[in-house]
């Protein structure tokens, strides 16, 4: 952990819910110094703990899930049985300690528990709350539950991925959930800054569907302005040619693109055939598009003899945009990610060492960090409720006796 105060020092966050869309927000805030408490119960632990692999050592267990730990580093873990009235009382005390509540239950669940924003803000007017779900809190399909992997199809991403003559393609995992959580982090920070200035908190209704559509903005705008419905087009591009991925030695691939005739002349030089750039079939981008197949075969003949790393290095040397198609293994040896300390290993009490992923931004003067590994279920009840919330020994023991930390 860095020795300077972190940017979000003093910010207290409570999370209700689980899986991806809520917890990723808290993880990022935790990476920059917020105190983030992830609330679960023994009966209903976060679904990412057990429902999906990977598990450390391939042994499933509540505290062994890589899916959970990946989005919950730098947080405290507590358990509260909110089905008990005393549990709700404790949840309210925890919320009163906080500046921000993030929840991703189905719409109306928090309200039915008595933890809706209207009630909570009566006791804590500065409170900011973010509620995120598939469709948003209102509208004719607000009650739709669903997986982000499928919502990515509804929001247009799957239909815009793949080849025009083939089926739509999956994007790995709940792609769209992370768009919502990344935008959600901005929304809560804006509301927190505003709350500090005005003394008034806000309730943010974040629809994962609508958040995703912002990342489809160009395609939607094209439809609004021209009526054209863009379709998936493999790796083709309107401006650049060639523009695609090419096979390399050992099942590797390299991505490259030429954005001008000068770029292509440089590529022709790298391929060892500078005259290609002046041949009528390849001299302009339109010509290169019209002769895509023979051009791609010429490039592939060169790339197949090289590793993706060697191909990309030669191309960059000549000033051409190129990068290996990095695999999930390659991410851990990529020299650029390594230099930026993308992966930071922390020791988890049951899982052992795990590499946690740092966000895509950092602050030069108050850098963030992976503050600690993901918490085991309920591991921080003692610290959070006694030291942060300030329960007396008698209060703590009374809650304990009544099974509230369940």
């Amino acid at each position: 952990m860095s020795g300077v105060p972190q940017a979000l020092d003093g910010l207290n966050v409570v999370e209700f819910g689980g899986y991806a869309a809520g917890p990723h927000i808290g993880k990022v805030l935790g990476n920059f110094g917020a105190k983030v408490v992830h609330v679960e119960s023994s009966d209903r632990p976060d679904g990412f703990r057990l429902q999906y692999p990977p598990f450390a050592g391939n042994k499933p267990g509540l505290n062994r899930g890589g899916c959970f730990s990946f989005f919950n580093d730098s947080k405290y873990g507590v358990t509260i049985d909110v089905k008990k009235p005393e549990g709700l009382d404790l949840a309210r005390r925890l919320i009163n300690w906080s500046d921000l509540v993030v929840e991703n239950m189905r719409p109306g669940v928090m309200e039915r528990l008595g933890l809706g924003y209207a009630k909570l803000s009566e006791a804590n007017p500065r409170l900011v709350m973010l509620s995120t779900c598939n469709m948003g809190q209102t509208g004719p399909r607000a009650d739709t539950p669903g997986f982000g992997s499928q919502l990515s199809a509804l929001a247009g991403f799957c239909g815009m991925t793949g080849h025009p003559d083939g089926p739509p393609q999956l994007l790995y995992g709940p792609y769209i959930d992370y768009i919502a959580s990344t935008l959600g982090a901005s929304a809560v920070l804006a509301a927190l800054v505003n709350s500090k200035k005005t003394g008034k908190g806000s309730w943010i209704d974040l629809s994962q569907y609508e958040s995703g559509l912002l990342f489809m903005g160009g395609a939607l705008q094209e439809y609004f302005t021209t009526g054209h419905v863009p379709d998936r087009r493999g790796n083709d591009d309107d401006e650049a040619a060639p523009h695609g991925a090419f096979p390399c030695r050992g099942d590797e691939w390299v991505a490259l693109s030429c954005w001008s005739d000068a770029d292509f002349a440089a590529l022709a030089g790298v391929l060892g055939n500078p005259r290609l750039a002046t041949q009528a079939a390849f001299a302009t981008a339109d010509a290169r598009r019209a002769h895509k197949e023979p051009l791609e075969e010429l490039i592939s003949t060169w790339t197949r003899e090289r590793s993706a790393e060697a191909a990309a290095a030669s191309l960059q040397e000549a000033g051409i945009a190129a990068y290996p198609v990095v695999t999930m293994a390659g991410l851990f040896s990529d020299p650029q990610l390594t230099a930026r300390r993308q992966w930071r290993v922390r020791r988890h009490p049951e899982m052992g060492d795990q590499a946690y992923s740092f966000p895509g931004f950092d602050l030069q003067e108050a850098p963030g960090d992976i503050v600690g590994p993901a918490p085991c279920l309920g591991a921080d009840n003692d610290f959070v409720f006694r030291d942060l919330v300030g329960l007396t020994d008698a209060e703590y023991e009374s809650y304990q006796e009544r099974g509230v930390f369940g």
Binding site: W203, Q316, M328, L331
Partner: protein, 380 residues
């Protein structure tokens, strides 16, 4: 408006446009600095620069442009940049940090400003390759692909907005700005969800799955995810578990009501159905009647029925489907700006029951736009 007294100077290229858009949607006054020759008819320019006021730099009078920019920077809270060797030297991130101690300077680049490949050239395609996303999209035995709507710029821009606001939160306490550094390559990684953890924990390299779900059956069977329908494609999976049971039962009920041939689907006890134990022949047999049924269903019909029946699954939408979705319409997601006929994606969140309205049409010149009223007591 949450960021009602925040002034943002946005001097970014395509890689950073979304950052300013996000801050504008949250209420900031965003001034886009634009050089000559920008094609403002491009749909992506319009989509990601709406809600900003535009200040054109004048190449014939660089001294006046610089003076105007300096005056804005002196009162700005955040300055968004996409520094490159071709950038205006007056907008050097380190220099700006030194000149304006309260200013939050955000530098968005493909790979970050340090590291052995910080100088490498990259467009959306190479950033998606570098961030691992291309290895996860496409047919398993085919070419890795990118999403045809560029994504890496949006990932970078969304992270840049978060970074800027982390620094703004800090400035409320310290009075000091900061330099926020954004790597587009790193920003894409979150799109991979937990796929990297398979390798880190167990040495398993997750890869692209195409149009099928693999890795669920111990007998190696693959399950269809995308089904041709009457007017396009649907997303549906024979899941197990409680959610799968409900979905599968409802599909069969729906097929029965329509008089569709059920084949082996008729006799399956969904309470006991375990997708992990089926082999490919069994999966093919249960998928065949569903395939025939879906071929006669439209995307909109499927959207309505799946919701009504609480089934998991959505149509594979095109942008034309999305703009007429009643859910989107009722929540007023798409918006126009007063005085303009153009429609845009609206602000991404509803705040205190209201979607913050878009204030400036794409390309509105700074001089023509009404300045945003500032909160009483805030600095000019």
């Amino acid at each position: 408006m949450l960021l009602g007294d925040v002034l943002v100077i946005d001097a970014t290229d395509r890689l950073g446009w979304l950052a300013g858009r996000v801050l504008a949607d949250l209420g900031a006054d965003v001034i886009k600095i634009d050089g000559p020759g920008t094609d403002r008819t491009r749909p992506d320019w319009r989509a990601f620069n709406v809600n900003k006021r535009v200040l054109d730099t004048d190449p014939k009078n660089p001294a006046a442009s610089k003076a105007e920019l300096d005056a804005l920077l002196a009162k700005a809270d955040i300055c968004l940049l996409t520094p490159s060797p071709d950038s205006d030297p007056a907008l050097d991130p380190d220099d700006l940090r030194e000149r304006y101690p309260r200013l939050i300077v955000v530098a968005i680049t493909p790979f970050g400003r340090t590291g052995p490949r910080s100088g490498w050239r990259a467009s959306d395609l190479e950033i998606m390759a570098a961030g691992g996303a291309m290895s996860m999209a496409g047919e398993p035995d085919g070419v890795p692909v990118r999403v045809s709507e560029p994504q890496s710029h949006s990932w970078a821009g969304a992270h840049a907005a978060s970074g800027a606001l982390v620094a703004l939160f800090q400035r409320e306490r310290t009075g000091q700005g900061d330099l926020v550094e954004v790597s587009a390559q790193s920003s894409v990684l979150i799109a991979l969800s937990h796929a990297p953890a398979f390798y880190d924990l167990n040495g398993v390299v997750a890869t692209r799955a195409g149009a099928f779900m693999t890795g669920r059956s111990i007998k190696g069977a693959r399950y269809r995810v995308f089904w041709p329908c009457k007017d396009g494609w649907l997303n549906f999976i024979f899941y197990g578990g409680v959610a799968g049971r409900r979905t599968n039962e409802q599909l069969v009920a729906w097929m029965r009501e329509r008089g569709a041939k059920l084949g082996p689907l008729a006799s399956i006890d969904w309470a006991r159905f375990d997708p992990t134990k089926a082999d490919q022949a069994e999966v093919d047999a249960l998928e065949a009647p569903a395939m025939k049924f879906f071929a006669g269903v439209t995307k909109r019909e499927y959207l309505i029925e799946a919701h009504k029946r609480e089934m998991l699954g959505y149509p594979v939408s095109t942008v034309a489907d999305i703009v007429t979705d009643p859910q989107i319409e009722e929540r007023g997601y798409f918006q126009k700006v007063a005085g303009s006929d153009e429609t845009y994606c609206g602000s991404f969140a509803i705040i205190d029951g209201e979607r913050p309205p878009l204030r400036h049409a794409a390309g509105t010149p700074l001089a023509q736009a009404q300045p945003i009223p500032r909160r009483a007591g805030s600095k000019p």
